[in-house]
């Protein structure tokens, strides 16, 4: 059975995030992406389109002094929906925060690019502190 295109895209996106390759990172998402960030912190809210999404990624790196990294642990996908499990690490004020994040997506069946993404870390207060 061939791999679902969303699975490949999510692993590529995680690599691009960690290597700081913003153009490649943005390419993984649908141009009309709607990206919903939980919590009460500097990046919470809804981002629409790749330009706004780039602001989210840049703010996360800014708040963590460029230390933010993502390791994609697992991606499950069918035609319309996907779910990814990732480990996020970042430093702030000399302390390292590690979060296990469950992300959810709806993707364009024509190319597998998610057009709506929402996610939840295992420790939302820790995320709030990291990107306060």
């Amino acid at each position: 059975m061939s791999e679902h295109p969303t699975i490949r895209l999510m692993y590529e996106a995680a690599e691009a995030f960690t290597s700081g390759d913003l153009p490649r990172l943005l390419e993984a998402w649908h141009p009309d992406i709607e990206w919903i960030v939980p919590g009460h912190n500097a990046v919470s809210g809804t981002y629409r389109g790749r330009e706004e999404l780039s602001r989210f990624f840049m703010t996360v790196q800014e708040k963590t002094g460029g230390t933010a990294q993502v390791r994609m642990d697992k991606v499950l996908a069918d035609g319309e929906y996907s779910c990814h499990f990732l480990t996020f690490t970042g430093e702030r004020d000399g302390a390292t925060t590690t979060l296990t994040v469950a992300g959810f997506g709806k993707q364009d069946p024509s190319d597998g690019r998610p057009y709506r993404v929402w996610f939840l870390p295992n420790d939302l207060p820790a995320m709030d502190r990291l990107v306060a």
């Binding site: 919903i36 939980p38 697992k74 499950l76 996908a77 069918d78 319309e80 929906y81 996907s82 779910c83 499990f85 296990t100 469950a102 959810f104 709806k106 709506r116 929402w118 996610f119 939840l120 295992n122 939302l124």
Partner: protein
Amino acid sequence: MEHPHIETIRLALKAYETGDREEMERFLAPDIVWHVGGDHRLSGDYRGRDAVLDYYETIRSETGGTLQLEPVSIMADDEHAAIFMRVTGKRGSKKLDTVLAEALRLDRDGRWLEYWALAEDQPAVDAFWGGAR
């Protein structure tokens, strides 16, 4: 071929829907961690099987048993699973109709070790339950 954990998840959802606490218990690992997203009074983390089962009972009680779960997609491999399901229900004069996304980390027997839930329309869920965390 469908992964056997998918059928286990269907049985767990059925047990939840019928309010069968004893049956539901066998699908949960004793040290399960349950993350409920959003900004409502039930949002937050529940640790341990008893806390999660008590949370279920709160949900059932508050909705008068009206919550209905209609899976749209269930995906699983040996260690992880995802459920997207339409959830409908009533609480007093409030009505809920949304797609809830759930992510699961599983043990070797398919029991739930860790759970994350966040709705596609989370503000609607927050309004349904009311209050802020």
